[in-house]
């Protein structure tokens, strides 16, 4: 297991390096930099600015410096737009916020989705099943950017229970709507995956054996059926993580929570490539690591896998 983990970790390193290099070149050949404005700057000024950001160096030198700073100092360089902040500051400010509501909605969706799916499968073809399936399909068709307006309309404008946006240090009133908006759609997916997986497991031979032994239903389900049921759910957690990442971009914009998404879209609109590049790389690295973790979890969960 340890050797397998190390091997996978080593294999992730070239992936991450290639990711950084690809993003770097993509940004570099983009027409129009952050300093092109409607009123062209005098060439001397432009040259000075470019020297300040190291843009006058040959390309390979820029790439090397960039890579070196990231790997050795974990430094993504200065922002092109904000003169007094560098990319690290922006990430340090936004990331904890995104992480807070992101992980909460991750937990919420997984817990509710799995319970719904299991309830539906155990009570197959009863009203509980139909209710859970209907809810799952409806939830899947309501992605975060649809749920956001609906929630605000209901809880802020009509009922007036919750504040329509802001962060305020992460008080619970400010967390409820972002978490639900983010969680709904993949909660639906998780519920459907869990349900069909549980149904398949409940029809398998070893469950029939467990029943034939006379084990109580509770033991059959929790002791024997649960672990194999959760296998496809575990392999779905990687995509869920990506949903949460991209969804957080919406949440930050719509609920003004001040997370990393706001910085991302802002930098995309103002062509602040340094921030754009930094955040993309951060998200890419996180995705690679989460995929690695889910693979390991899968290997741990599934007794059939040998490394």
């Amino acid at each position: 297991m340890l050797a397998y983990s190390l091997r996978r970790l080593l294999a992730a390193i070239p992936t991450i390096l290639l990711l950084i290099i690809a993003c770097f070149f993509l940004m570099h050949f983009a027409p129009g930099g952050p300093f092109t404005s409607e009123r062209p700057l005098p060439p001397q000024v432009l040259a000075n600015i470019e020297a300040r950001y190291g843009l006058d160096q040959p390309l390979w030198k820029q790439l090397w410096d960039y890579l070196y700073n990231i790997v050795v100092h974990f430094d993504f360089g200065p922002s092109f737009k904000f003169k007094d902040r560098d990319v690290n500051d922006i990430i340090a400010q936004g990331f904890p916020i995104s992480l807070t509501y992101g992980s909460l909605s991750f937990l919420f969706a997984t817990a509710v989705g799995v319970s719904l799916g299991i309830a539906a499968a155990i009570r197959h073809n009863t009203w509980i099943d139909y209710f859970a399936v209907g809810l799952g399909i409806a939830a899947q068709a309501l992605p975060n950017f649809i749920m956001g307006p609906i929630l605000i309309l209901t809880f802020t404008l009509w009922l007036g229970w919750l504040p329509g946006g802001g962060w305020n240090g992460g008080q619970w009133q400010y967390l409820v709507m972002p978490v639900i908006a983010l969680a709904t759609s993949y909660m639906g997916s998780i519920a459907r995956i869990t349900r069909s997986s549980m149904l398949e497991v409940l029809n398998s031979n070893f469950i029939r054996t467990a029943r034939a032994k006379g084990l109580p239903t509770r033991t059959v389900i929790w002791r024997h059926a649960l672990k194999p049921t959760l296998l496809p759910v575990v392999s779905y957690l990687g995509p869920v993580f990506v949903y949460v990442l991209t969804g957080s971009v919406f949440v930050d914009i719509y609920f003004s929570t001040g997370g990393l998404g706001q910085a991302y879209v802002g930098s995309a609109l103002s062509r602040d490539y340094a921030v754009l590049l930094g955040v993309t790389i951060l998200y890419g690295v996180l995705t690679v690591l989460v995929n690695l973790l889910t693979d390991l979890a899968y290997a741990w969960f599934d007794p059939k896998i040998r490394y």
Binding site: P149, T280, N291
Partner: protein, 309 residues
Amino acid sequence: MLGKSQKAAHLAEDITDFTVIQGRSLWQDARMRFVRNKAAMASVFILALIVLFTIIGPYFAAWSNEEIDWNVMGDVRGMGMPSVESGHYFGVDDLGRDLYSRVIQATTTSLLVGLIGAATALIVGTCYGIAAGYIGGRTDSVMMRFVDILLAIPATLVIILLLVVAGRSFFMLFIALGAVGWLTMARIVRGQTLTLKNREFIEAARAAGVSEFTIMYRHILPNLLGVVIVYASLLVPEMILTESFISFLGLGISEPYTSLGRLIAEGAGTMSYGTLWQLMFPLSFYVTIIITMFFIGDGLRDALDPKDR
């Protein structure tokens, strides 16, 4: 003497009856299963209605999607609501433009995005996957390693990056959506190709001297078609979702063109002024399209991949 009884005559008729029992092909089977699926058939019907609406709808529009109704513009809340007399069947948006025309335009855009994006992904992914799987060996591992790396970057962020770098246009949007969509397709196709290429009929074709390209085209591709169609049908709503998400953030198609995501964003921005129709019309179109496409995709999967789920 023996053959004269009625029973024997029947028997003889039965034996000499050479009308062939009509066999059912895989596709006829699949079609029957699909037609029997009520949710999927209802979804096809509703989706057809929506498509019909986007084609016929413009002939009934009193206003174009760019025209601003100056009379209404000053008081959108009071005068801009949906009504038949003013010609604004769905009301007007915040700038006084006719929402009926804009919803039609947006629905067309979203449907096109879904179809063209999925088609791009399908073609590129299938070619890539077949090539990787069939050639195999080192080529395969290099090609799939490349896919793995691209898959590591969150797709929506890649699309945003591409749109920022290359400028926002229809063409670029399709390219960007296709550019991220083909990855998973390539993986699925490669996996299927790997299981197919060692089967006897491929071996037979090779023994008969069929060229490699013809084997891929004539023998492997048709056998992949079921899986590919199922995945592509699930890809269409995903493409629409992604495009709407990007448009919602204001990074998608630019004015005067619009898409459902953009309209929902505008409606969500103005809902506190009491102009709720600006949110509700695009929202209901959007949710209907997505739900029907989910059902159609599920129906296709059950029809073409008959495993009891």
